[in-house]
Amino acid sequence: MTETPLLGSALPDTAGGEAANSLLAGARIGVVTFPGSLDDRDAARAVRIAGGTAVELWHADTGAEALRGVDAVIIPGGFSYGDYLRAGAISRFAPLMQEIVRAAGSASAANLLPVLGICNGFQILTESHLLPGSMLKNDHLKFICRDQKLRVENNSTWWTSDYAAGQEITVPLKNQDGQYIADEKTLDALEAEGRVVFRYVGLNPNGSRRDIAGISNATGNVVGLMPHPEHAVEAGYGPESASGRSSGTDGLGFFTSVLSKLVGGTK
């Protein structure tokens, strides 16, 4: 994952900044690679730009050491195992996923592993039952790649604390199977418990129920969403903004949120 040197830290290079930097760099965020993962290097880059240390995790590794002692995990986008059967259906059974499910969902409540599933990662989290519901093919049946506006509905999760509640952000969306679906009871419960974390604003790009773009588990350590915050962390390579030149960096908050929570010792 570290083939090419990355841009420096996105944090200001002030006196205090340096200390904060090294503090943040102490937080280790694992990024999972399955065969067919595509955005793993991008997610690792986002972690580094946010100031943290990215750690490669391999789908086939077994046992507790497979997690390499990371403080949080990102399951990135892509087409794991080709996604031919159902998105995420096969990855769910990877040995590493067993460890992630254990650490994120069933450990003692004080010590839950923060997990972010992006796109295919979200699909894998639903297939693994860490998050409820499932994904269908987009209602228009096509792959869609666009700059998508979202509203942050819940800023109290591990991955959204650096956003304001109700804040609107723009991040790229790109998928074929992104239509979020769950039964009415589940949807009502998600709404009631504040677990709808992101909603599509403006256009619902895939027919998702109640415009849901992302959700969390009850404890807020596990978050999944279809759009790609890791593609909106570096000016020049993100979504279009008012100034042109792909300068949108609205996705950075995901990575700074978890880092500040981790170094803030709230874990």
């Binding site: 096969i90 499932s134 679906i181």
Partner: protein, 83 residues
């Protein structure tokens, strides 16, 4: 060689986007006798030796655990087909 066929269909209460697209397109080809279409999956598992009860049980479990997702799909059929 014997095969086990597993059929998986989207749950009836779920709007199936592919089926919807097909039912909209059928009349354009002059096929007007159908009121709805649903698209599911059919798997054919080839068995190495004989289809023992254990193997059939394996197929049933694979159908529930991996070949289908109970949130959106039902396993509607698991059966042995001779060749």
């Amino acid at each position: 060689m014997p095969r086990i066929v597993v059929d998986v269909m989207p749950k009836p209460e779920i709007l199936d986007p592919q089926g919807k697209a097909i039912v909209a397109a059928l009349p354009r080809l002059g096929f007007t006798g159908f009121s709805s279409v649903r698209q599911g999956k059919r798997f054919e598992l080839t068995v190495d030796g004989d289809v023992t009860p254990e193997i059939l049980q394996q197929a049933r479990e694979a159908a529930e655990k991996m070949l289908s997702n109970p949130v959106i799909e039902d396993v509607v059929n698991v059966e042995v087909v001779a060749d």
